[in-house]
């Protein structure tokens, strides 16, 4: 598998895992209706790889997911904050998977884009889009990665640093 294949598998797998937690099943799609109602971008930066992960998501999906958090005791969760946090969790999952390939990077804060419409270009050599459909609408994830020349992603077979998994609790 080359770098693109590995990242394709990781990003699509992480997106499906994350949205499955919200009872949203994602199916790969060739094209989706754009622009999405919500778009967020979150940067990452490391020695071997840097760039940004983008997430576009339709309003109906967000509305349905947020309904489960409706609670008369607290302020309603804002859709924009939810989308930003979802991008944060998505890039966090991707990061944790890439650790096994020797890639480390820091994660920036998510930024929800407002007042603009985003139309994603077809795949380029550096920006890799992943389009999904679901019963309530579409989601697009894009991975805009600048990989340092000569970096080849290889899954480590030897001892690596521990990686705590999503949902895992570690008490010191």
């Amino acid at each position: 598998m080359n770098n693109r294949d590995i990242i394709d598998a990781i990003v699509t797998g992480c997106a499906r895992e994350l949205f499955a937690l919200h009872d949203t099943e994602l199916t790969a799609a060739e094209e989706v209706h754009e622009p999405h109602d919500y778009v967020t971008v979150i940067g990452f930066y490391g020695e071997s790889m840097r760039g940004a992960l983008g997430l576009g998501i339709d309003r109906r999906i967000v509305t349905r997911i947020l309904e489960q958090y409706a609670d008369t005791n607290h302020f309603p969760v804002g859709a924009e904050d939810f989308v930003g946090e979802t991008a944060n969790q998505l890039v966090g999952r991707v990061k944790n998977r890439l650790l096994a390939y020797g890639v480390e990077f820091g994660i920036a804060l998510p930024m929800v884009l407002r007042g603009i419409e985003v139309h994603l270009a077809k795949s380029t050599s550096e920006v890799w889009p992943y389009r999904f459909s679901s019963t309530e609408g579409a989601i697009t994830v894009w991975f805009d990665a600048r990989i340092e020349p000569g970096v080849v992603l290889e899954h480590s077979e030897g001892p690596t640093d521990t990686i705590a998994c999503e949902g895992e609790v570690t008490m010191f």
């Binding site: 609670d71 944790n96 999503e166 010191f172």
Partner: protein, 123 residues
């Protein structure tokens, strides 16, 4: 019996809401802060916070730096501080432990597990 007070620190309102809903339902009183500086100030200005759940990547001050600042005061030596973050890298867990955190949870959290952890450390 007075409810134990838990401070949740996260720049995401979504996460703070989830934490508050979960811990309120379990009988805790919950207060919130939006970043490491606000979290540290909330602790420094209070005498009755029983435990802290804290994100790592936040504006102004990250979670580990917040733990270090809080733990620099002897009166907070026993305050239980738990990280709740998307990060899972071992080196970061060790940094948090060295700073004085007592636990690490990778998002998304399981509500029952969060309650169990908080009940254990806030006892």
């Amino acid at each position: 019996m007075m409810k134990k007070k838990i401070l949740v620190v996260d720049d995401s309102a979504t996460i703070r809401h989830q934490e508050m809903a979960t811990l309120n339902s379990a009988g805790f009183d919950v207060v919130e802060a939006v970043d490491g500086i606000a979290g540290a100030e909330a602790i420094e200005q209070s005498d009755d916070i029983a435990a802290v759940i804290c994100d790592l990547n936040m504006p102004r001050m990250n979670g580990i730096d917040m733990v270090m600042r809080v733990k620099s005061a002897p009166r907070h030596a026993k305050l239980a501080m738990i990280m709740l973050t998307t990060e899972g890298q071992g080196a970061l867990l060790r940094r948090a432990k060295d700073a004085g955190a007592v636990g690490w949870i990778v998002k998304p959290f399981n509500p029952a597990q969060l309650v169990a952890v908080v009940k254990r450390v806030a006892a």
